[in-house]
């Protein structure tokens, strides 16, 4: 069952009197109990997509068209007051850096209870649910944790608190903005396992934003690869890793170091830089960096097509890639 449906989302940022398109027609579905990885470089529009869903775009940014449906309700059409009440209760978010995501001057318990109170849960009920939320994320002695200030907790403990706070109201959609990047490797694994477990338990629809394909392989059932504000390719994780249908996905996959590589050659890189959003090329935005480009790539922007188990926004099918040689440009 589809919980989160993003339909043709367009978001712009006002900069020096011009609207820069940062999300350009993103469509994406996340089912209940499903984790979808949203992958891309910084500036690809993945964070703006997530903030659009949450309704927390920074000053100067706005959704210009499209719909964001959660259980059939269009969040974009809501007034700001109703939008606020959906935050935390319908859509929640966990963040990259647990060291800065919590208010240093409030106890952990007060910060979780604050979210409950913002949605009308008060008094002993708020207290009970705060402790339950802390317990649920596997922290020992919930009443003691609740009375602690964030600086007394380790990074992993804080990230658990952030997760507890996000899930305290049983939201339908969880947006995870690289919640493991700032943590040690062993803690990363614990947090991954925790989110995975809570996802099954509560039938959560999870949108997991990352630039780390390794994390995606580990946790996501499906992946959407973003480039220059659009979804370049959307596919099942297994299918994407086995046979990427978009040259950009292929290039991303090729740049992951693999432990089975016996030859210690230089790691391939993607040549060139992501396009300037103020001056997008007329054709496919990846065309200038693409090793398989054909003439028409420079003139028209490809619409997504279903090909080889993927939805890919590319004119050139995988079968034609071979004739042009290696996808990657060797680093200088």
């Amino acid at each position: 069952m589809t919980v989160l449906r993003i339909e043709d989302l367009h978001t712009v940022v006002r900069s020096r009197g011009r609207d820069l398109p940062v999300v350009r027609g993103v469509s994406l579905d996340v089912d209940a109990g499903e984790i979808v990885g949203l992958v891309g470089e910084s500036g690809s529009g993945k964070s703006f997509t997530a903030l659009s869903v949450l309704g927390l775009l920074p000053e100067g940014a706005r959704v210009t068209s499209g719909r964001i449906l959660v259980d059939g309700e269009d969040l974009v059409a809501l007034r700001e007051r109703d939008r606020r009440t959906r935050r935390g209760s319908t859509v929640a978010m966990i963040y990259q850096d647990p060291m800065t995501a919590l208010n240093p001057l409030m106890t952990v318990g007060a910060q979780i209870a604050e979210g409950l109170r913002a949605h009308g849960i008060r008094g002993p009920e708020a207290k009970r649910r705060t402790l339950a939320a802390i317990e649920e994320v596997g922290l020992p002695k919930p009443d003691r944790i609740a009375r602690s200030y964030p600086h007394r907790l380790s990074g992993g403990q804080r990230q658990r608190v952030v997760i507890a706070s996000a899930l305290a109201l049983r939201p339908r959609v969880l947006i995870a903005d690289e919640p493991t990047t700032a943590l040690d490797v062993t803690i990363q694994q614990q947090i991954l396992a925790l989110v995975d477990e809570l996802r099954t338990e509560h039938d959560l629809a999870v949108l997991w934003i990352t630039h780390d394909l390794g994390v995606v392989a580990r946790i996501a059932a499906r992946v959407a690869v973003m480039y220059a504000g659009r979804v370049a390719e959307q596919a099942g994780t297994r299918e994407l890793f086995a046979a990427p249908q978009h040259p950009y996905s292929a290039a991303l996959l090729a740049s992951i170091p693999s432990p089975t590589d016996t030859e210690r050659g230089p790691l391939p890189q993607i040549g060139g830089a992501p396009p300037d959003l103020a001056a997008l090329p007329a054709g496919c935005p990846f065309e200038p960096r693409c090793a398989y480009r054909e003439d028409r790539c420079a003139t028209g922007e490809p619409e997504p097509v279903h090909r080889g188990g993927s939805d890919t926004a590319c004119f050139v099918p995988r079968e034609r890639w071979g004739v042009r040689g290696d996808a990657m440009e060797e680093p200088a």
Binding site: T100, H151, A166
Partner: protein
């Protein structure tokens, strides 16, 4: 906050206070002319050498500077600030009469300035670069740039023409005599003092608020669905509050030594006027006593600010085991 930290800070503060006493002593002993000439004026010329020596002995001016310092410093420790050469009244009594006036003025100015400064600082920071920000900042700069003596002068002139009220030293009503009468006399000088203070508080609030508003935890709070008003006050302002409280405390310290102009123009018998009279009449026991007291108060206030700062922030409030 650990006891050890507190003891360290107290020791440091005591050291600074001794340094302050030395500076006051050295600066005010290097005065031009000696106190006897200052006291007796032209009569000093008629003194015989013996009379002069006797007087020097009486005032303790014939011993070495180091002995004089320790005698003076020993007196300080017993609460003896010496005697006014002009009137013969102990300096501690004069200060005891003047201090409440200055304290009341300072507190009143703070009570007016802090809410105004904080609110306008928040208003300016709510939309950096917008018209409201630029106008608040412009007015704030003017508040700092128009000298107190100008505002005070204009206010007194306005009071005289509008209410036919002219402040004079003889008509001061203490808060014990009449609360309303006292407030009528103190309100305008406090308002004059509050202008510069409010501008300073506004600037601090604006920058601290902007800094806190950019923090990740503010986004977390919004992400929980917390109302915008609560985000602003409970999260942003609370975190911005630490630098604001520090600034307010330091300003209060400055104020104890900075009411002079206003006391002079409004003819209020506070510490500033006492000091000014002491300077004009070359009554150096008064100058020494007031300077020392205000500087010591300033040191103690700064220490208090530091302690409050540490109490406000749970990260420095207690060191201990992690949960």
């Amino acid at each position: 906050m650990s006891l050890r930290y507190l003891l360290g800070r107290v020791a440091g503060m005591l050291g600074t206070l001794v340094g302050v006493a030395v500076v006051v002593f050295v600066v005010l002993r290097a005065l031009p002319g000696d106190t006897i000439t200052a006291k007796l004026g032209t009569q000093a010329a008629t003194l015989t050498a013996d009379q002069r020596a006797a007087l020097r002995h009486f005032y303790g001016l014939d011993s070495s500077p180091v002995t004089q310092f320790f005698r003076w410093f020993g007196g300080l420790l017993h609460g003896d600030l010496g005697v006014s050469m002009d009137t013969g009244v102990p300096v501690t009594h004069l200060i005891g009469d003047a201090l409440p006036v200055t304290l009341e003025l300072a507190v009143l100015a703070m009570v007016i300035a802090v809410p105004v400064g904080v609110l306008f600082g928040m208003l300016a920071a709510s939309r950096p670069g917008a018209v409201r920000d630029l106008s608040v900042q412009g007015v704030g700069l003017l508040g700092l740039a128009v000298p107190e003596f100008v505002v005070a002068t204009v206010t007194v002139a306005w009071l005289a023409s509008a209410f036919a009220y002219t402040p004079s030293a003889g008509t001061y009503v203490s808060i014990g005599d009449s609360f309303g009468g006292n407030l009528r006399q103190m309100l305008y000088p406090a308002l004059v003092l509050a202008i510069g203070l409010a501008a300073t508080v506004m600037r601090t609030t604006r920058s601290a608020y902007l800094e806190a508003a950019g923090s990740d935890f503010v986004r977390t709070a919004r992400g929980k669905g917390v109302t915008e008003a609560r985000v602003r006050f409970r999260h942003i302002l609370h975190n911005a509050g630490i630098p604001i409280v520090t600034m307010v405390g330091i300003q209060f310290g400055y104020l104890l030594g900075g009411t002079l102009v206003v006391e002079q123009v409004f003819a209020l018998p506070g510490l500033g006027r006492l000091l000014l009279d002491g300077i004009l009449h070359q009554d150096y026991a008064i100058v020494q006593g007031v300077t020392l007291l205000v500087a010591a108060a300033f040191v103690v206030v700064n220490f208090g600010v530091d302690v409050v700062y540490r109490l406000l922030d749970p990260r420095t409030r207690s060191e201990g085991r992690r949960a």
